[in-house]
Subunit: 350 residues, 2 copies
């Protein structure tokens, strides 16, 4: 359990500490035989660099952080899991910051990370703009599924607009004309885009967009429950509901169940995300699938290239990239062709 230092390795190999340091950071600068000898020796004695000494000397920042606003939401839990593994593969410490949708918590986490010279921060959807802007001035940043002003911060998002279209077009194909939409918080760009896809698809098909068919949710299960309750107060009930995420869709499903509204016979339902966890439910949700792995992998790669300084030098900010990951429609069991008056059975119970 004794820790070796580069000087000791150097002595053992009859060379200088500088050379050992080079094989660690710039192997190309060391002649091959020497390099191999040093590497073998390090292996042999189990040498591990001291990260503190290394960072102190190189003056570099260290570590990554990931901000999510609700770790209980499986979509974000999956992001935490994936980014966690990617970071570990690169031996980069990752601090997970669950802000619980609270700006004060965001501020505290951020202060703390900046004090600790964090090398970069990945923000998932749901983090407030002031926090992101402040971070962006002092460290590397990448956004997942969140849109900021064009070209100022690198972002990786699903094609939320097209996803919104896919869902709506599918329902239209099934002859639904009266489609309810359950949205997200109004400052969430991803949910806004899904709404835009929904709206424009309707209008292109000459179905007027009616704002009473949009229920403002908060992406949680309960919002789905509330949304269905709300839609049932309308004079004309929707025959289909498109929810901006899976959790709310399951709220609808659960509430429908308890009201004896059967899905998809009485009501068609389509979600957004397609979280694998939910496939275990007895009813398989039809949903627009986001490719979470691709979102995370791409965001992480962008971050790595930033850390390696590969995009430095452009002072106009134009090197910030915007990557859009396509969505796909996964057909489950919760949509059916519209044939007549909606939700007849409900009227007995409602």
């Amino acid at each position: 359990m004794v820790r070796y230092t580069i000087s000791e390795i150097a002595k053992l190999c009859g060379t200088s500490p500088a050379t050992v340091s080079r094989v660690l950071n710039n192997p190309g600068l060391v002649a091959e035989p020497l390099r191999d000898r040093i590497r073998k020796k390090m292996e042999e004695v189990g040498y591990k660099p001291n990260p503190f000494a290394s960072r102190l000397s190189s003056q570099s920042r260290w570590g990554l952080a990931l901000f999510v606003f609700d770790i209980l939401n499986p979509f974000f839990a999956l992001i935490v899991r994936k980014i966690g593994h990617l970071a570990m593969e690169q031996r980069i410490p990752l601090t997970v910051c669950d802000t619980e949708n609270n700006e004060e918590k965001e501020r505290i986490y951020l202060d703390y990370l900046l004090d600790n010279k964090i090398a970069g921060i990945i923000f998932a959807e749901g983090i407030s703009i002031p926090t992101i802007e402040r971070a962006q001035q002092q460290t590397e940043t990448v956004l997942i599924d969140r849109h900021y002003r064009e070209g100022l911060i690198s972002e990786v998002t699903s094609d939320n607009y097209m996803g919104g279209r896919q869902a709506t077009e599918y329902l239209l194909q099934l002859n639904h004309r009266n489609i309810g939409f359950i949205g997200g918080p109004s400052n969430w760009s991803s949910a806004e885009e899904r709404l835009r896809g929904y709206r424009e698809t309707l209008e292109e098909n000459e179905i007027p967009f009616r704002k009473e068919m949009v229920f403002p949710g908060d992406l949680r299960f309960e919002s789905g429950v509330r949304a269905l309750e709300y839609f049932l107060t309308l004079p004309e009930w929707p025959s289909a509901i498109f929810s901006a995420n899976d959790q709310m869709a399951f709220g609808v499903l659960s509430k429908a169940n308890s009201l004896n509204i059967s899905i998809p016979e009485d009501l068609s339902l389509i979600g957004f995300d397609d979280i694998p966890v939910y496939n275990l439910y007895t009813t398989i949700l039809t949903a627009v699938r986001q490719d979470i792995d691709a979102l995370c992998t791409t965001a992480f790669e962008i971050m790595l290239s930033k850390l390696n300084g590969e995009s430095a030098g452009f002072e106009d900010g134009s090197e910030e990239s915007r990557t859009v990951i396509p969505t796909t429609l996964k057909i489950g069991e919760t949509c059916s062709k519209y044939t007549g008056s909606p939700a007849r059975r409900v009227q007995r119970n409602g």
Copy 2:
């Protein structure tokens, strides 16, 4: 954005770096007027210590890690959230390690953390013994809801045995005699304890324990679905089911729903954990509540005292503590008095 150093602060205050360092680490050693002057100056220029220099010089370890086996499980997500906040309050970086129940991942995470001189690791239930043992030899460790050999590692657990008793006694009071149990993996001490509580309570009430009434689950939603399917293959169906966690209980609930088995009329159901998220479900689960906040807070405090060396010096290991947090029974809507033949309605569909 210029970073000040202690030497600069010293110069500004007309003193030496050593003194400035003292007000940071040992304020008692510096006379009050000088101390206040230095503090004011640090405040004024926004001085932040360089963590790398500090760690290098003091040779101390740094940071904490938290191992969970499945971050998608809300019970563990809540632990991640709580420990994350506690760590942040203490300005201690926390690395969350989601091992996905995979020993190889555990090994990689652990290697990485030890290389980075992690100061301590908190293990939640579900992490394998070899990983814990290896960690314990090289860094501070605390277990949450996991039992290891007596007195060797500090642990904080719910009173799983009593929880098992509480649930079983409650069902017995409701006249249930035929109670199914859905367990966890056999090497999970917490689930084993719940089973023991169930078993002993039955036997004390002269109801024979029958092993066919125990379904081995894996704590996931789907296990609950499978469990109910299994119980319905038995010649004599249980009139009540006690699940070792909430997720599996919801699997039962969901499956029961699709089979037209109504809960609690046809079948009583009781879970374990009482995760707040689930309260949003239309049906409120009756469950044994674990006090997650207390589990986390206690575990974290123990870790802090270890980091401060407060329990050092005992070489026989006897300073390792074992804290048991009581559980309570939360009455929801999923249990009712047993009055006759079980699940009559099922027989029409089953």
